[in-house]
Symmetry: C2
Subunit: 388 residues, 2 copies
């Protein structure tokens, strides 16, 4: 059985239909993976994710290394057993977190020295260690350890991080021992087209099971992200899965699929849910608004999620205005279910060779969050995470 | 159909077995009601309470009057429809909250003037208004509006609040119009035996559907609470349900049943759960403790709740140490399920005329939280609520 089977490519776009075969089962693509950094998709049980239909989640190597530690998860039978989620799990290597969350890092070709964002303790990550820790976690798909430059990186830094990412990619593959675990390589290259192409060529020359596009959605305008994606995916082999890291806004999933991406992950649906922002086909709406105070109907009449089936918009409004934790749960269920329905509709559209029609229709109705506001929120979020 | 049917009284104690018949269904007694002050048992869905087996919950008139307002709940079809819980609901009148949560209250025989603990706005509660608001909520059992003295009240204040509670009780009954809704009267009297007896005689002379013992578990030592209970329940009619308000520690439920109480409610199981304190047959244990870091077994091997069936103690420990909201959920499920199992065991013991044996056995094993620590926690909690 191949790790990835490409079933079909849309006739009018690069949209693809396929399946990733892992030891924990099959993952149909395109797919969105909810994020459970600390072995929990915030506020939700694995049963709730199963009810929605989710096929794969993402957990985080950096976070789990610090708490409860990779070794403890290993001794408890691995991540699946630990969190009672028995479908596929992909783990981020910690590259992004080491650069975005930790403090006082020093980096050289050997690895990254950093202080924990929790207690300030000193740690050293190398490509070998990042792979070993993911083997301890026992995820189905591990990610290579990469050097993630900020979106504002100049050519020099973008080049350096690209070269280091390639160097580390080779070391990751060499260090990897668990053959039942797949490993994906990561393409960096900052915001430079030629560097993206060069990175794609260098990383795809190595024997990874799939390829990820990293370093995007870090604060750059969406159009630039889409442009960088267009400079990258044509250089990725068609017979391997393609993963766009950290991307999960509905409009970006559609744009990503159109550009040949198979796998997405993002904290967005659960993070904004905890602030009361719920997805609809017309865009994100905040359930705290006064218009919902007396709305006895469900928040979204087009939605068949547990939340919309069982509770009124008025009740959700009340829960959020009263700071009740149940509100965060119900909003998280709705947002993950919304993205899952989007994924299913995308799959169906590709099957019927109607993806471009679907995408035009969806993007025509879906009002994207104002770009300035979006970037401001993103910046706040990155700062808040840094302070933690 | 009678509002309350007394099925059996234990031969060796005052423990009783019965059923409360409401328009939303039957509630077997003894019963424990989880508290959903704001129309949500914190962190849990109605489905989860149903799965545990809960037969009745308590919601709060004061909280719902302020948010989202009694009128809004009424317009949305009443409390059952609003929160999607279709089994019986009992509502507290707000008497306790007006005295414990609100600010700058002035009280006279007409009613209570107070400032909202949320926004400082001015409000005036009367017995008539408290009943009308509970009719708007549409609970199955409404409580009379009472004057709750602090546990340290002197004889003068205890007498005054008793007399006012009786005066208000009469006005509550006169104001009540929804005949399908039952109303329970409340016995006050502070920490004075003769006043408790007098209050019981005055309140039971009125045509309430059931009787509650109020003003206990407010910081006084447990032995005093039990003593006051013994001075009260003998003066309550056997053919009406008896409700001990705000009491829900496992040892107090057993002690209350032994003294003839049928109904209990308390925030305790869910409140301590959110701090990581989980009930066991041996007492409360904090899941954050280091001993659980690597415990792959369930937290309580005797427990068949959703949490213990699906997750290890180590995972719960990790969730709490990482401040993950799922931890609060899973701990709340466990604690409510623990109390529900206790209730079922109590019912079975009474059925078999073995209640005193059961109680001796249970209290012999269950290590009660240290009295000083308990009182300190209680004081902190009352203060914290006042600050809100």
């Amino acid at each position: 059985m191949q790790n990835f089977e490409l079933w079909k490519t849309d006739v009018n776009s690069q949209a693809r239909l396929g399946v990733i075969n892992t030891t924990s089962g099959a993952v149909h693509t395109p797919v969105f993976c909810p994020v459970g950094s600390l072995a929990t998709v915030k506020t939700l049980t694995p049963d709730e994710l199963n009810d929605i239909g989710c096929e794969m989640i993402l957990a985080n190597n950096y976070h789990l290394y610090l708490r409860p530690t990779s070794q403890v998860v290993h001794e408890l039978g691995g991540l699946h057993n630990f969190m009672n989620w028995h479908k596929p799990i992909i783990t981020d290597s910690g590259g992004f977190q080491v650069f975005s969350l930790s403090h006082l890092r020093t980096i050289n070709d050997e690895g990254v020295n950093f202080k924990s964002h929790i207690d300030g303790s000193n740690h050293f990550f190398t490509p070998e260690k990042a792979i070993h820790m993911q083997e301890l976690l026992g995820s189905d798909i591990a990610m290579a350890f990469d050097h993630v430059p900020p979106s504002c990186a100049d050519r020099e830094l973008a080049t350096k991080s690209l070269e280091r990412t390639t160097l580390w990619a080779e070391r990751c593959l060499k260090a990897h021992t668990r053959k039942e675990q797949q490993v994906y390589g990561i393409v960096q290259g900052g915001m430079f087209s030629d560097l993206r192409r060069r990175a794609a060529q260098e990383i795809t020359a190595l024997s990874f099971d799939g390829f990820a596009v990293g370093g995007l959605s870090l604060g750059e305008p969406k159009e630039r992200m889409y442009g960088m994606l267009e400079e990258t995916t044509p250089f990725l082999p068609p017979d391997k899965a393609r993963y766009l890291m950290g991307v999960g806004a509905p409009e970006d999933i559609v744009a990503g699929v159109a550009r040949g991406i198979d796998v997405f992950d993002c904290v967005l649906p659960t993070r904004v849910a905890r602030n009361g922002a719920l997805f609809t086909d017309e865009g994100r709406k905040n359930i705290r608004r006064a218009q919902y105070i007396k709305m006895d109907d469900s928040f979204d009449p087009n939605c068949d999620c547990y939340t919309c089936r069982n509770f009124s918009a008025a009740y959700l409004n009340h829960l959020f205005r009263s700071d009740e934790l149940l509100g965060m749960r119900l909003a998280s269920i709705h947002n993950v279910a919304f993205l899952w329905r989007l994924i299913k509709n995308i799959r169906l559209a590709i099957t019927r060779d109607r993806f471009t029609i679907f995408a035009t229709d969806f993007l025509g109705r879906y009002q994207v969050t104002n770009e300035d506001k979006r970037l401001e929120q993103k910046e706040q979020w990155l700062k808040a995470n840094n302070r933690k």
